[in-house]
């Protein structure tokens, strides 16, 4: 050995390589109320219009309601009740001040008594003075509201879905006047619950084109909850696409200037099952005139302008039935599954692509080590789809610290860990966000991730290689110095 210098350098390098710390975690804060909680009766719903949109594989209820503060104190908390069996299928609840300057309000799920038949969401409104009014707009996304009926159809039959809802809006407050309007994909609604109209009024419900309207109803008390159930059967020509799981990885590479996205889907068609065996002949014959079908024939993903190197594979290997159309205003990846996916059938596949990192990552002008990543939380196909479980993993460069994020949708759980892959010594800082019950309206909403990436952390990879090679050279030089001659 020639001296301590090379070894000192080696030890110093490894010591510094091993000192990077794990990112911190932030706990979620649920809204916990006592088990005997009931919403205080402080509001009246003066006028309420509920519109239920059934044109997609989930239901989207928009409720416009004039809320009046009936108490003698200023109120802010408005509660929205859900039956226990429904609350697990709630995708989102959004609330905003429709007419006034209040904007979007914070909505949180209340945790009080798991066994209670009624569960609540709480809206934190702008303060409402006694006997004043506000026009509140609630938007509720509910998954798995419709089931195919009949449950089995033949390959070329029409598919009908069955929906069960309530006559009135289930409110925690008395409603003076209300109406429910249902919107269907097309006017084909062969069966729907009919009520005897009150004297002097028209039919209940009234059907016009692809709309059915129940009401108006006067004074609905809180005890009535939703009132009698309404049951409908409507034609749904598209497949009921459900992603049982979606794992989406977003990998950031500073060295490569690249953002790699990979999405692993397991999808099911929750539509009507086939009555008989699948007939390839019928399928081939009908595809000439391309009628609407309840099987999943193809999926189209918009990857965003500038996407490159797409791939579409499954456990067998590359699936060749895909087309990538990329130009200056869109980049569409059109996929065809290996087989048409009929009701009850499953498919799993993986798609991935690359993007220039500069489009999604920005750095602070004052602090060059501070980065902000802004990426779509979900992208997904253009076809209507719902997701049961979604895991979005953001893999940041190795050595990134102080990770924080702003999510466009409520996160069920988060996990932070180190993801080890090529050329890593410590592992890359990874943030995994898990969400359940996501409707496709979440497509394109942006997730913001902020992190620090010190200059030295960027040099970790070449430095590790440099140290390794340098020690190889040193060892070879030392071995070359050994005198192996037997005699002088």
């Amino acid at each position: 050995m020639r001296g301590p210098t090379p070894w000192g350098l080696l030890l110093f390098t490894f010591a510094t390589l091993c000192t990077a710390s794990l990112p911190s975690t932030s706990p979620a804060t649920p809204l916990v109320l006592p088990p005997d909680f009931t919403p205080p009766q402080v509001f009246n719903n003066t006028n309420l219009l509920r519109t239920i949109d059934l044109t997609r594989p989930y239901s989207r209820e928009v409720i416009a309601v004039i809320v009046e503060n009936g108490s003698n104190q200023t109120q802010t908390e408005y509660y929205v009740p859900f039956a226990k069996e429904v609350v697990d299928r709630v995708s989102y609840v959004e609330a905003r001040d429709k007419a006034g300057p209040g904007g979007d309000f914070i909505v949180r799920k209340v945790e009080f008594d798991e066994k209670s038949p009624v569960q609540y969401y709480r809206i934190d409104m702008a303060p409402l003075a006694p006997s004043s009014q506000i026009t509140l707009q609630l938007t509720i996304g509910l998954l798995h509201t419709a089931t195919p009926r009949p449950a089995t159809v033949s390959q070329v039959d029409k598919q009908f879905l069955f929906y069960r809802g309530s006559r009135y809006f289930h409110s925690a407050y008395p409603t003076l006047k209300q109406k429910t309007k249902l919107r269907f994909p097309n006017p084909e609604v062969p069966e729907y619950t009919k009520f005897t109209p009150k004297a002097g009024s028209t039919d209940d419900p009234a059907k016009a084109g692809s709309f059915i309207t129940y009401g108006p109803y006067e004074l609905v008390k809180v005890e009535e909850k939703g009132g009698e159930p309404i049951e409908l059967m409507y034609e749904y020509t598209a497949p009921v696409i459900t992603a049982n799981t979606l794992e989406r990885d977003i990998e950031v590479s500073h060295w490569g200037g690249n953002m790699a996205v990979e999405e692993r889907y397991t999808i099911t068609n929750k539509g009507a099952k086939l009555k008989d065996q699948f007939s390839r002949v019928t399928w081939a014959a009908t595809s000439y005139y391309n009628p609407p079908t309840h099987a999943i024939k193809s999926l189209t993903f918009d990857l965003g302008v500038g996407a490159s190197d797409p791939y579409y594979t499954d456990e067998i290997g590359n699936i060749s039935t895909s087309r990538f159309r990329s130009n200056s205003y869109e980049a569409l990846l059109e996929l065809k599954p290996r087989f048409p996916i009929f009701g009850g059938w499953n498919a799993s596949f993986v798609i991935g692509w690359n993007h220039e990192l500069g489009k999604f990552l920005r750095t602070d002008k004052k602090d060059a080590e501070q980065y902000v990543l802004k990426v779509p939380f979900l992208e997904g196909p253009k076809e209507p789809i719902v997701y049961d479980e979604v895991e979005v993993t953001v893999i940041l460069p190795e050595g990134a610290t102080d990770v924080s994020y702003i999510s466009p949708i409520d996160i069920d759980s988060e996990e932070r860990y180190l993801h080890k892959t090529f050329m890593d010594t410590l592992g890359r800082t990874a943030l995994k966000l898990k969400v359940r019950n996501v409707a496709d309206e979440a497509h394109g909403k942006e997730l913001i991730v902020m992190y620090r990436y010190p200059k030295f952390a960027g040099l970790r990879k070449p430095l590790v290689f440099f140290t390794g090679l340098m020690s190889l050279f040193l060892v070879s030089w030392l071995i070359g110095k050994v005198d192996t001659r037997i005699a002088k």
């Binding site: 190197d309 500069g358 750095t363 802004k374 090529f422 050329m423 290689f465 050279f473």
Partner: protein
């Protein structure tokens, strides 16, 4: 957040994607030349040649990985 985003500057990598392969090739070539020189020369000064050889190989390896699509 929106305003902050607008005032930030887009990330620019040290070497753009198109240049990964040429940069990697040049660096690897430099690495090979210096290491060839190292193995031909057994004097203590050979270790001085090993320094640029290791450095060129190290950065060359990173860009070579990026050039083949494994964005490290």
């Amino acid at each position: 957040m929106e305003i902050e985003w607008e005032s930030m500057s887009p990330f620019a990598p040290a070497v753009s994607k198109d240049l990964h392969a040429p940069v990697a090739l040049v660096l690897m070539a430099i690495g090979f030349i210096f290491s060839g020189n190292f193995f031909l020369n057994k004097s203590p000064s050979a270790l001085l040649v090993a320094l640029p050889a290791s450095a060129a190989f190290a950065f060359g390896a990173v860009f070579l990985m990026c050039a083949v699509g494994v964005y490290v």
